[in-house]
């Protein structure tokens, strides 16, 4: 047995987290999570990620919705 490190994608709007094997580009992770890239910003710590950024295994990224209603 060995420990498979995954990428954790936290979806702030849905208050849930998903895990995917890496490395993967941000745009591919968003597609897997069913999120349209133009409706969110993606962050890792204090860094803002572009959609072509490659996320490594073991990383945690936050997907923050930018759409406000009302």
């Amino acid at each position: 047995m060995y420990n498979v490190r995954m990428i954790t994608v936290r979806l702030s709007q849905k208050k849930k987290a998903l895990e995917f094997p890496g490395p993967r580009r941000v745009m591919d992770l968003l597609a897997e999570a069913g999120v349209r890239p133009t409706t969110v910003i993606v962050t890792q710590g204090r860094k803002l990620l572009t959609k072509d950024h490659r996320v490594e295994d073991g990383a945690t990224i936050d997907v923050i919705s930018v759409v406000s209603g009302g």
């Binding site: 709007q13 133009t38 910003i41 072509d52 923050i64 759409v67 406000s68 209603g69 009302g70």
Partner: protein, 316 residues
């Protein structure tokens, strides 16, 4: 991906609608230029204005306040506590924290103390929460501005908000609303203070990115009352179009604002449909209105009647 402006740093923000990508520092320059150009082109603000910035704790209004402070405008923040369990408290915390970080203390209006918290008012008046919220906010924006001798009220409506509203108005052929839709609503004699939307050129993604990169701690959760807001449907439709054809939103809105567009009048002529001359004082509260009593007082009266009826049922 490298920054398209300095060509040295890695890009932090990509903007397909501008065929551009920027590092943090260059994005700040780009964003502020978009806002200041929006202000200059439509003459939204003068250097000596006293600006009342309406802040909700969300990204757009706090970013607007931040940019206006950095641009040297004299500003004060107005926060309206809507009386929504949990959400209002968390939003208020963000506003107070941001204000403190800039050496400011916002003006706070608590709707519960005013006797008209949004959830209850909406139930009593049998109106959509967003409609009640709009009426109440507009009333207090103007009242606080007039009482505080502010020359202008600024709100954080962005390009996505304005194009969603435009699409809704077009789909329903709301000609009166189309005539009045503009980032500048001039003030009028009788106590109506000028209203402006300085973020009309920037998108929600851009304000969110600016807020994040500037370290502005804004509330990311959505207002629980706005889940079924029709504006979200229009926003999604426009967002899907923008995905396929970047830049469509700004072309759509700039085309609408073109003075030659027959669908809209010049801002000076944009008075409400029932307007007859200048607004008169509301017979109940004295606020400017084109009717006998203002829409806020009419709403309060509906709420009062519903409460009286409910109390009578309970005592029976």
């Amino acid at each position: 991906m490298k920054c398209k402006r300095c060509r040295r740093a890695d890009a932090a923000v990509e903007l397909p609608s501008h065929h551009a990508a920027f590092c943090s520092d260059c994005f700040f320059v780009f964003f502020r230029r978009q806002v200041t150009e929006g202000i200059r082109k439509l003459r939204l603000l003068a250097p000596d204005d006293r600006v009342l910035v309406c802040v909700s704790g969300g990204k757009d209004s706090l970013v607007l306040w931040d940019v206006l402070i950095d641009e040297g405008y004299e500003t004060e923040g107005l926060y309206i506590d809507l009386g929504i369990d949990g959400y209002s408290g968390r939003s208020k915390e963000k506003v107070l924290a941001y204000a403190a970080s800039r050496g400011k203390t916002p003006i706070v209006v608590e709707l519960a103390k005013e006797g008209i918290p949004i959830p209850e008012a909406s139930r009593c008046a049998r109106m959509q929460e967003c409609a009640v919220c709009g009426t109440v906010k507009r009333y207090f924006f103007n009242r606080v501005a007039a009482e505080g001798k502010f020359t202008v009220v600024a709100t954080g409506h962005n390009l996505d908000d304005e194009t969603a509203r435009l699409l809704g108005n077009l789909l329903h052929w709301q000609r009166d609303h189309l005539a009045r839709q503009h980032p500048l609503l001039p003030g009028e004699d009788g106590g109506l203070v000028r209203k402006v939307k300085p973020l009309w050129r920037v998108s929600e993604v851009e304000t969110a990115a600016y807020g994040f990169l500037k370290g502005i701690d804004y509330v990311t959760e959505e207002c629980p009352m706005s889940e079924d807001a029709t504006s979200l449907v229009y926003k999604e439709a426009l967002s899907r179009i923008e995905d396929r054809m970047p830049g469509t939103r700004i072309v759509f809105y700039k085309g609408f604002l073109d003075p030659s567009n027959p669908l809209r009048k010049a801002p000076e002529a944009a008075a409400p449909p029932d307007a007859a001359g200048t607004p008169q004082a509301c017979t109940a509260c004295g606020a400017p209105t084109y009717a006998e009593t203002c829409s806020f007082c009419r709403l309060k009266e509906r709420v009062r009647k519903a409460r009286t009826l409910r109390a009578a049922k309970v005592t029976r």
